[in-house]
Every structure is written in structure tokens, then in C-alpha cells.
């Protein structure tokens, strides 16, 4: 669903939960709210191919029923596509998700041939180091982006449309934003690149034994 902010999304889900009569656990305090946590807030302007959220219920409920009841109450464009019941001590999603996959679409910059584009895209990664400067609350942080890139595919579509599929590290233990990667690439190539539409395809858990969706792993 486009155009709604993360806050709007949270609100919409909370209200759907109330309508569905899900026995949620509420937070304490002046403003009790059902305990839901999303693996990550979707940045403004990005679309999403899927989000993960944890719901804390008062007591066990058949997951299929939860899914069906909630889907009945969710507005068009929002849907629970998969669900899994986990124990209360399952680690928080925010703590385990460490990889994000993005899909980026744009047209070749004016005057740039496809061959040249793909060659530059490869050359870009042959650099020893690619420095990124990031403004943080504590000041400017400079770091190398290469170790954060886990996958990168570029495809040429119709009408000089390029699709990039990039997998970047994500989460509190280090992350790279797709816009940062793209900006560094435009700078390297010396092209006037515009910031294109970015879709976050999904969030994953990268371990020594492979890449998993949060619904596939057990702890």
C-alpha cells in the first residue's frame, strides 16, 4: 500500500486488531497500546514488498484464525500473508534481522549506453574501498561500504529501464542505505543520477549457514 506513513500503518493495524477482537497484551501507562513491534519502520518514500511484525497475545491463539480474522479487518492493500507462532522468549525481530533486499528501478541516464552502464557498475565494486559519509546525531561518520554489500544484480529491461537488486546489511549492528550506495555510484560514474523509486523487498536473517526469512528460523 502506497502513501501511508509508518505511523499510519501502525494505527491501521492497531485498529484492525481491535475490530478483530484479538486478545492483545497492552502496554502499561497513560496510553495503553497493544504490543506490536515491526522489524523496522519503512523509510518515507520507500515502498515495501513485505514487512514483519510481532504481536504479543494474552494467550495462545490458533495462528490460522489470527490470520483470517485480522485479514478480514485490514484495509485493502494490507494483508497478513504468512504467520508463525513463537514462544514468548523468541528474540525481538529488530535484534535478529540483519539483511535487507531492495529493488530499484530507473532509466539509463541520458546519453549513457547500456554496455557502458554495466561496465561502470562492475568497475565500481573493483575499488579497494568506497567511502561513505553519513551525518549522524554524533557527527559525521565515514565508513567503507563494500563489506555491507551482500548481493548486487543489474538487469536491463525494456526501454532502457534498469533494475537493480541489491542486498545490504541492515539493523543495529551496521547498515547501509540503498540511497547511500546509489549516490556513491553516481559520484563514481560522474553521471547526473536521480534518486529513483526504491522498494524494500524483504528483511532477512543472514547466518553462516545461509539466508533465511524470519519465519524460517528457530532460536
Amino acid at each position: 500500500m502506497r502513501f501511508i506513513s509508518h505511523l499510519d500503518l501502525l494505527r491501521a493495524v492497531e485498529r484492525a486488531l481491535r475490530r478483530a477482537g484479538v486478545p492483545m497484551v497492552f502496554s502499561k501507562g497513560y496510553n495503553p497500546r497493544p504490543k506490536i513491534s515491526f522489524a523496522s519502520a519503512l523509510p518515507v518514500g520507500m515502498t515495501s514488498g513485505g514487512e514483519y511484525a510481532e504481536f504479543i497475545l494474552k494467550h495462545s491463539w490458533p495462528p490460522k484464525e489470527f490470520q483470517a480474522r485480522l485479514n478480514e479487518q485490514l484495509p485493502i492493500g494490507l494483508e497478513i500473508v504468512a504467520i508463525k507462532e513463537v514462544a514468548y522468549n523468541f528474540p525481538a525481530l529488530t535484534a535478529v534481522v540483519n539483511l535487507a533486499c531492495y529493488r530499484i528501478n530507473f532509466f539509463l541516464p541520458p546519453g549513457v549506453k547500456a554496455v557502458a552502464f554495466f561496465a561502470t557498475w562492475e568497475d565500481f565494486y573493483k575499488q579497494e574501498k568506497i567511502q561513505v559519509r553519513r551525518q549522524t546525531k554524533k557527527g559525521i561518520r565515514v565508513f567503507d561500504l563494500l563489506p555491507h554489500v551482500y548481493g548486487r544484480k543489474a538487469r536491463l529491461g525494456e526501454n532502457d529501464n534498469v533494475t537493480l537488486n541489491i542486498d545490504l546489511s541492515f539493523g543495529p549492528r551496521g547498515s547501509l542505505r540503498p540511497a547511500e550506495l546509489l549516490q556513491a555510484f553516481w559520484d563514481f560514474a560522474g553521471w547526473e543520477g536521480r534518486m529513483p523509486a526504491i522498494q524494500r523487498e524483504g528483511l532477512f536473517i543472514l547466518r553462516d549457514d545461509g539466508i533465511f526469512s524470519p519465519l524460517e528460523v528457530d532460536f
Partner: protein, 623 residues
């Protein structure tokens, strides 16, 4: 969604205003219905979506098999620019149907400073601005709401006006419209003449207004056959029988009143003399406790809102308020439901209610003494004493509140500086309050100083409004009088209050002023960031209209007022009596608890005197 819309939405602020896909929104195929109605609200989405009356009409119209209602709000200036850029006409949110393709467009008139938005919305919808220029295929443009009790400044643009509560009238109008369409004559005048036969419907073009040399009205009369010389308002006598929307639309974005709304009663007979709502919504009619509880259940189930607001003009006056709050707590306390009471009386009974419902969730408690001195409170018939204020604040502080919001007005009739300095004194008094034991103290008192605007159909309808410069001086008097650093003063802009006053008591000749101002670019005049004094000045100069004639002149009792031929049922005699009592400093009691003060509304509407209460009549105790 239309592809054009999809393209511009990423470029405007708050795009969810224009999606039309919210939960509980109703989408109908226009080809499957006989009549289509656009519920137009001349302000931004967040304000319009908070308005209960529009929700009620949306529900009533869409319940009909043969009709569809869609919403349309004033597009925010960034969206307006985009719409113009790609030449996309204004549309109904649900299906994107162009405004011009609806059979009828109904504007909600809540506030005078939204009038330029009405013109702008019509223009953006490619609808001829003037009702006299509309023809075959053009929609009928109608209006209702509190400002409809003097819609004269808008009569150039409106085909008809509905006075009073719209629940029943809207159905009668739509049925008439459907018949007229089926009959196929296309004669608009014919439709309007039949509509004028519906009680509560005022068709301005059927009345001629004559003015004297001094600009004052000398005669008002219908221009054709059996048209009532005076149109009386409509009301719903039994609220329990009235339709109520229990599955209202739930917006994605946060709106002004982002909660489920329950209506406890209509009308208020406290009789505050400055208050137009208190006069035009009379008499008091309560909904029964049982009905409200069942509506609460349906509402919460269908919306999922975590908060329920008990709305009314003076909610703590509801006969079964304690029982209601108790029951809501019992039924929904576990789900974390919050209950809010928006309009509190100034007394400890109300403070206790607030404590029961909200605990200390809310940071500040709002009270409205309206005037600083007892003398002036008697003039305006705000029947509370300084002790009431002290008592309310004391019990609030004892319950743990440490921040207060106090509402006052300046520019009231007979007001002198001695009255105004009292505002500062009352605020300081509140700030000084301490709980009897313990060190509980008041942390913050914010006082909101509104400028009094005389309104039609109130006892002060003849009063001159205090001018801009003098209002500024009086604001200064308060600022100088307040020493306590914990007191924050919020004032309102005198220029926009004067503009509000102009349209509030204006007549038909102001139509061209509106057009001139709108052409110069005036929009969202009620929004501080958009109000443009310079453009309005230019509009006055262009049209030669002198606002002082409308705002600053003391009108004679014998004068024919521009709104005299549209009546909320309250007698002009009563208003005059009240005006004289005001000058004499005499108060008039609330007819709900005391004797009838003969305002005329009950006999005019053929109701028994003050039909208060629902089925479970229990003796009234006032806290």
C-alpha cells in the same frame, strides 16, 4: 486510482487525504443509483473528517439503495496547485467522480472563514460559480450547518439552504430530486420551487431584498406564489429515532478528533448570550442511556478506535452522565478504552467526571469562564461564580492536575478595562492554587483569549463589534496584568475576527466581495498561515464595500436584519428581552433545570415545553 492522481500524490503533503480508501468508506457505482450527492466540506480533510454532522449525512444517504454520497474536502494549497497544473477537476474521494458530475453538492457551513474555499472548490470542480448561471446538467449547490442561519453572503452561489438538522430533510430533498430527474423537464426553477415547500428549505433566489438609501434593508419578500415569508428550521424531535453512524470512516492519518464520537444530546439551554449554538440548536433533546450504550458497542466494534468521545454542547449536563461513564468503564476498561469529555462545566462535579474518565492521562484540564469579572459573566449569562472556578480548580489540583487551560473572551458588550484585568487576576488565582496537604502545585496555566464576534440569532445580534485596534489594546491590558511566569497567554488575530464578524452578520451584497477576495487568491482564511490581510483590503477597495457598516454599527431593534426571514425558532422578542436583561446585569436560568424562559422554540416546533430526557426518566441531580 486514477493514473493522474497516482502521479501527483507523491508530490503533495499528506497524500492520504486524497486516497478515499479508508476503512468503512463506501464505494458505489454511480450507474446503479438515481441520485448522487457530494458532501463538500470547505476545509482541509483533518478538520472535515472530524465533523459529526457530515458523518451522519454520509451514513443516511448511502443507506439508501437509490443514492450515493461521496466526500470532498478543500484541497490543501499544494494539492490545488497540482490539480491546476495537470487540469484535473476536483473529485469525490470514493470513486474519483468529478464534482460537476454529481446531482447535488452540499457544503457544510461551520465557520465563516471557509467561504472563499467554497468558491475555490466550485471553480476547481468546473461548476458555474453563480447559481443564476447554472443550467441543464449542472449540479445543485446547497448548504447547511450553523452558518446557514445567515447564509446571505453566500446566496449568489447557493441554489438552496437547509436550516437546522438535516437527517430528515436530506431524504425528502433526494426523493424530490430523483422525481424531478425522472420527469426530465430539466427546469431548475421548477425543482427549486417544489423544494421550497419542504419545511426547513430556504431558496434564496425566491426572495427579493430591498435596501433603503442608508443601505439598510427595508423589505424582504418572496417573489413567487406560495413561498413561506419566513423559513423555520427543522429538528429531530426524538434522538433515539434518529439515524446515527455506527460505522464511520476511519482515516489513516491523524485527524483533529481522531476517536469514535457519541452524541449524548442536542441543544443546550444554559442560555449564554454570546453563544449562537446555544440559541440555534434548542431545545435540549437527550438520547437514552440504553441507546447510547448500544451505539458505543457498535461504534467500537466497527472502527477499532481506542478512544470514545462523549460529545455535546455541555456533556456533563447529560442526565445519566455518571451512569454512562460507569458502564463504559465496566464494559471496556480492560481493552484500554479511553473516554473523553470535550466540554466541561466549571464545577467540581465535572472535574470529578473528568477524573473518572481520563485519570491523569490528559496533561491539562480545560475550563471556560469566558469572562473575568462577575459583572461581565452576568451580562453574558455565564452562570458561574468565582467560587465555582476556585472549587473546580481546587478539586482538580487535589486530584493531581497541574496544568490548566482557561478560555476567555474580550470585546464583550459593556466590557471595560476593569473586567479585563480580572482575567489576569483569575489566571493568577488559578496558578496560585495549592493542594491542602502536600506540595502539589500548578505548573502551567494557559489562557486563551478569543475575540467576541456578535452572531445572528443571539441576544447580541444588534451589538457593534469592537474594532481591531481596540482589541489589540485590550490584549495588551491582559499581558500587562499577568506577572506569573507560569501563565501563557494565547490571543486571536483581531483582523480575522472582524472578517468573521463581517460574514457572520453580512447580507447578499457581500457576494461580490467574496468573489473579489477569492480572485485575488484568498483561501483558508481561518488558517493563520494563509490569512492575507492585504488581499482582503484590496478586495474591499475593489468592491467599495465598507466592513464597518456590518461590524461596527449598532443596529436598531426595529431594523430588518438580513437573517430575519430564516428562523431557528427562537423569538426575536426573546432575544431583545435577553439583550435588555444583559445590560441590566440580570441572569436567566437554564430552562432544563428551572422554569421556561419563553424563548419560543418549543411552541414554534410544536413540541411540549422542554422535552428533556429519554425513556428512563430519573430525577435530575445537579452536582
Amino acid at each position: 486510482m486514477k493514473p493522474e492522481l497516482e502521479k501527483i500524490l507523491p508530490q503533495v503533503s499528506k497524500p492520504t487525504r486524497y486516497l478515499g480508501t479508508e476503512w468503512n468508506a463506501i464505494k458505489k457505482d454511480h450507474r446503479q443509483v438515481d441520485v448522487s450527492f457530494a458532501l463538500a466540506f470547505p476545509d482541509v480533510y483533518e478538520v472535515g473528517m472530524s465533523h459529526l454532522g457530515s458523518k451522519i449525512l454520509y451514513h443516511i444517504i448511502n443507506k439508501r439503495q437509490d443514492a450515493v454520497a461521496e466526500r470532498v474536502f478543500a484541497p490543501w494549497p499544494d494539492m490545488e496547485a497540482k490539480l491546476r497544473e495537470i487540469s484535473l477537476p476536483l473529485f469525490g474521494l470514493e470513486t474519483g467522480t468529478h464534482l460537476a458530475d454529481f446531482d447535488m453538492i452540499g457544503f457544510s457551513l461551520q465557520y465563516e472563514l471557509t467561504y472563499t474555499n467554497i468558491l475555490n472548490m466550485l471553480a476547481l470542480g468546473n461548476i458555474p460559480l453563480y447559481q443564476s448561471e447554472r443550467g441543464l446538467g449542472d449540479p445543485f449547490v446547497i448548504a447547511g450547518g450553523p452558518c446557514a442561519f445567515n447564509a446571505e453572503p453566500l446566496t449568489d452561489f447557493l441554489d438552496l439552504v437547509v436550516l437546522g438538522e438535516g437527517e430528515e430533510v436530506i431524504g425528502e430533498l433526494l426523493t424530490l430530486l430523483k422525481e424531478w430527474k425522472q420527469e426530465g423537464s430539466g427546469n431548475r426553477r421548477e425543482f427549486l420551487c417544489s423544494a421550497a415547500q419542504i419545511p426547513g428549505v430556504y431558496v434564496p433566489s425566491l426572495y427579493r431584498i430591498d435596501y433603503g438609501d442608508d443601505g439598510i434593508i427595508v423589505n424582504v419578500e418572496p417573489v413567487v406564489g406560495p413561498i413561506p415569508p419566513k423559513v423555520e428550521k427543522r429538528i429531530v424531535a426524538d434522538l433515539d429515532k434518529a439515524e446515527f453512524p455506527t460505522s464511520p470512516i476511519v482515516p489513516y492519518m491523524g485527524i483533529v478528533h481522531d476517536r469514535a464520537l457519541l452524541e449524548l444530546f442536542r441543544g443546550c439551554a444554559r442560555g449564554c448570550r454570546f453563544c449562537q449554538a446555544g440559541m440555534i440548536y434548542r431545545p435540549v433533546r437527550e438520547r437514552s442511556l440504553g441507546r447510547i450504550l448500544s451505539q458505543a458497542e457498535e461504534l467500537l466494534l466497527s472502527t477499532g478506535y481506542p478512544e470514545l468521545s462523549l460529545t455535546s454542547l455541555s456533556s456533563s449536563d447529560y442526565t445519566w452522565i455518571k451512569e454512562l461513564i460507569g458502564q463504559l468503564k465496566e464494559d471496556y476498561g480492560e481493552t484500554g478504552l479511553r473516554v473523553s469529555l470535550p466540554s466541561l462545566r466549571v464545577d467540581s462535579f465535572s472535574v470529578n467526571l473528568a477524573r473518572e474518565t481520563e485519570g491523569l492521562r490528559r496533561s491539562s484540564l480545560t475550563l471556560a469562564p469566558e469572562a473575568g469579572s462577575q459583572r461581565l459573566r452576568n451580562v453574558i449569562n455565564k452562570n458561574i461564580s468565582e467560587e465555582d472556578i476556585a472549587e473546580a480548580v481546587n478539586s482538580a489540583v487535589a486530584s493531581g492536575w497541574n496544568a490548566f487551560k482557561l478560555y476567555f473572551m474580550i470585546g464583550l458588550p459593556t466590557e471595560v478595562d476593569e473586567d479585563i484585568v480580572e482575567i489576569a487576576r483569575v489566571a493568577e488565582q488559578v496558578a496560585k492554587t495549592r493542594a491542602a496537604r502536600g506540595a502539589r502545585k500548578v505548573r502551567r496555566v494557559s489562557i486563551s483569549i478569543a475575540n467576541f464576534v456578535p452572531k445572528p440569532h443571539t441576544p447580541f445580534q444588534w451589538e457593534p463589534q469592537v474594532g481591531e485596534g481596540e482589541l489589540r489594546r485590550r490584549q495588551e491590558v491582559i499581558r500587562r496584568g499577568v506577572r506569573d511566569k507560569r501563565i501563557i497567554i494565547n490571543t486571536h488575530d483581531p483582523d480575522s475576527s472582524l472578517l468573521e464578524g463581517l460574514f457572520s452578520r453580512g447580507d447578499r451584497r457581500l457576494g461580490r466581495l467574496l468573489v473579489a477576495a477569492w480572485r485575488l487568491g484568498c483561501r483558508f482564511d481561518g488558517w493563520r498561515e494563509h490569512f492575507n490581510k492585504k488581499k482582503w483590503k484590496d478586495a474591499f477597495a475593489l468592491t467599495g464595500i465598507d466592513p464597518a457598516f456590518y461590524t461596527r454599527r449598532r443596529r436598531h431593534f426595529a431594523e430588518i436584519l438580513p437573517w430575519d426571514h430564516t428562523s431557528p425558532g427562537v423569538d426575536k422578542d426573546f432575544l431583545q428581552r435577553e439583550y435588555q436583561r444583559a445590560l441590566a446585569g440580570k441572569t436567566t436560568p437554564d430552562c432544563s433545570f428551572d422554569s421556561c424562559s419563553q424563548c419560543g422554540v418549543c411552541p414554534a416546533l410544536e413540541l411540549p415545553i422542554c422535552p428533556r430526557g429519554g425513556e428512563e426518566d430519573t430525577p435530575k441531580t445537579v452536582g
